[in-house]
């Protein structure tokens, strides 16, 4: 196996300053928000890499940088050996980009309501001047809808069916990698099961590689081959699902796993986690998790922990063992 995607030092800073005049009047400085900071990971071909974290942890920003919807402030994204940041040959970049597609959480917002399903699905191919004859019909059947649905409009479909249409569109250009940003978070569980099964089938059938972005630990555990846990824009732990769920090493991962509701935990009484996610514009010093961490010491407040190998995991924590 080889890495299909390699991400190194990926960083994205947003300028969240108020307009110039307000800053002058209120005597404020420019403000910057580091949404993603120095993130490294690799995705092996034909596997699913999951990024998990609470809202605001930087998951979507990473996904958007991977597909080219956002530019990184720093760092590199390499796809099949092509460094998308430094490659000079525009054709090679375009070829790599066309191998990457994205599907989003909200199947309502991501389909143009005035277009017929056929035109929505073939759009990525038509935009490249490719052949679209019969393509929508074929893809609709592959995602479990009917060829005859091609002539309909999005509003004629339920949420789950719309997500199937989004998946069909993402498959149109025969991509190798699909970035799935919370693909089932807006769906009911029975519909989620249909969509997750479909994603697994398509992966096997087309040899796809997925970057799965979600806050839902049950989905991650079911789908992922490798999991990266994000906190405030940084990767804090990385492991395979068995290792991560059975022996979480980072105190944040431990907190997240114990807080997730469990269907077999009737009337469970565990002390809930402490505190909330801090303001990303003014993150804590040292380890960003230290204000909420039950085992933090002075070193955690001073120094940022680097990612290190620990048993079968990688963890960015001074004290994890």
């Amino acid at each position: 196996m080889s890495a299909y995607v390699t991400v190194r030092g990926l960083t994205r800073v947003f300028d969240v300053s108020k307009p110039w005049l307000n800053r002058v009047l209120e005597g404020r400085k420019k403000a910057f928000l580091t949404a993603v900071s120095d993130v490294d990971f690799e995705i092996e071909e034909r596997t699913t890499y999951a990024l998990v974290g609470e809202s605001g942890s930087g998951k979507s920003t990473i996904g958007k940088m991977l597909v080219g919807l956002l530019n990184p402030s720093e760092g590199n994204v390499e796809v099949e050996g092509v460094n998308l940041m430094t490659e000079a040959d525009a054709d090679r970049i375009a070829a790599s980009r066309s191998n990457i597609q994205m599907i989003f959480q909200d199947p309502y917002a991501s389909l143009n309501p005035r277009w017929r399903v056929r035109d929505i699905i073939v759009e990525p191919v038509a935009a490249q001047g490719g052949k679209t004859e019969g393509l929508a019909e074929k893809l609709l059947e592959q995602v479990g809808l009917h060829a005859s649905d091609a002539g309909k409009f999005p509003h004629e479909f339920s949420g789950g069916q719309r997500q199937r249409i989004c998946i069909a569109r993402s498959l149109a250009s025969e991509p190798r990698l699909i970035v799935c940003d919370e693909p089932t978070s807006a769906l009911d569980v029975s519909v989620q099961a249909q969509v997750l099964n479909l994603m697994s089938d398509l992966k096997d059938e087309f040899g796809l590689t997925y970057l799965l972005i979600t806050h839902d630990l049950t989905v991650v555990r079911h789908m992922a081959d490798r999991i990266g846990v994000l906190y405030l824009g940084r990767l804090v732990e990385e492991a395979d699902p068995e290792t991560l769920f059975n022996t979480p090493k980072h105190p944040y991962t431990q907190m997240l796993l114990s807080a997730a509701p469990r269907m077999d935990a009737f009337g469970r009484e565990v002390p809930p986690p402490q505190g909330e996610i801090p303001d990303p514009i003014d993150p804590p010093s040292g380890c960003a998790f230290h204000p909420r961490c039950p085992i933090a010491t002075d070193v955690c407040r001073k120094d940022r922990p680097a990612m290190r190998a620990l048993a079968a995991s990688k963890v960015a924590c001074h004290l994890a063992e």
């Binding site: 609470e54 099961a193 989905v219 997730a260 009737f266």
Partner: protein
């Protein structure tokens, strides 16, 4: 048996539409006792919120109660209108919604909102109300309550706002709280905090709670009993442990089996074929029959057995050995 705090009997809600009358709630009955959390669970569109809104008299016209009775502490409340209903809502029934901002006035400090609510419903002085407001905020875990009481809602995070809403819902000491997806918009760590808070306050004060959610995990952790709704009807009603470990209704079973669980590993998820019927196209007989693996002729024709006598509204409830 003591009278339940809330008793819903055969409740139906109707909405006249251009394509005919639809019934988003159809003959639903359940009770919530003192200090008990009843989870109401089901997929979106099942009628959970409509049932909750019917209890608090907040159905948006043209939706209206078309049948059945609602009793609160032995008093029938479904015929109440206008001012009577409004008074009941603040005093006897507290409400918590998914978006805390629907319950908070952005123009008033949280202290003003708490004290006004208490002054309207409790025989206490303004000074006393303010003291109690601070205590209430402390109780729901707002750090520095005495200083933060004069802050506005927008100065709090989402999780802290939901805590304020809980303080507000409980400050007039209601006997019933209706919480409609109270943690759906929150992150898991904050959700765990809010659920634990709700459980503690309910059990300490003996408040009855109707906890509406689509999340079976939340139900498992928080509820004592659970009502599973499907297409406006009650599919199954029982203790959480019974319903979740040995579900009798095939829909409940399908719902549980389609949730990814650690114990199942990575094998394919169970799929319930199709989708919940639209209200305009309700099937005859059991509304679940088009999707049910066990459906027989009787399911397609006959009206269902009432859940009041059985646990599941199903002609052929699943046996424990069919469920693993």
């Amino acid at each position: 048996m003591t009278t339940p705090v809330l008793s819903i009997r055969n409740l139906s809600v109707e909405i006249p539409t251009r394509q005919g009358i639809v019934k988003p709630v159809d003959g639903v009955s359940y009770d919530v006792g003192k200090g008990e959390i009843l989870g109401v669970v089901g997929e979106s569109g099942a009628g959970k919120s409509m049932a909750g809104n019917a209890v608090i008299g907040l159905l948006n016209a043209p939706a209206h109660i078309s049948g059945g009775e609602i009793w609160l502490n032995g008093r029938r409340i479904d015929p109440l209108k206008g001012e009577d209903m409004r008074r009941l809502r603040g005093k006897e029934i507290g409400m918590i919604f998914q978006d805390p901002l629907t319950s908070l006035n952005p123009l008033l400090t949280i202290g003003d909102q708490l004290t006004e609510t208490m002054l309207t419903h409790l025989p206490i002085s303004r000074k006393e109300a303010r003291e109690r407001a601070i205590a209430a905020l402390e109780e729901v875990g707002i750090p520095g309550a005495a200083e933060r009481i004069d802050s506005y809602p927008h100065e709090f995070s989402g999780g802290m706002r939901q805590r304020v809403v809980i303080a507000l819902a409980l400050c007039a000491e209601p006997s019933l709280v209706i919480a409609d997806e109270p943690t759906t918009a929150l992150d898991v760590s904050v959700q765990a905090q809010i659920i634990s808070l709700l459980k503690r306050l309910c059990h300490e004060r003996g408040t009855a709670v109707m906890l509406i959610t689509h999340d079976m995990g939340v139900i498992a952790e928080a509820a004592d009993r659970v009502a599973v709704m499907y297409a406006g009807r009650l599919a199954e009603l029982g203790t959480v442990r019974d319903v979740l470990t040995v579900p009798q209704h095939p829909y409940t079973h399908g719902l549980m089996a389609s949730t990814p669980l650690a114990s199942q590993g990575r094998k394919r998820l169970h799929q319930i074929p199709g989708a919940m019927p639209r209200l305009h196209h309700m099937p005859d007989g059991c509304a679940f029959h088009p999707r049910c693996p066990h459906a027989r002729d009787k399911c397609r024709a006959a009206p269902l057995p009432p859940v009041a006598n059985e646990r599941a509204a199903c002609w052929f409830p699943m046996l424990p050995e069919e469920v693993q």
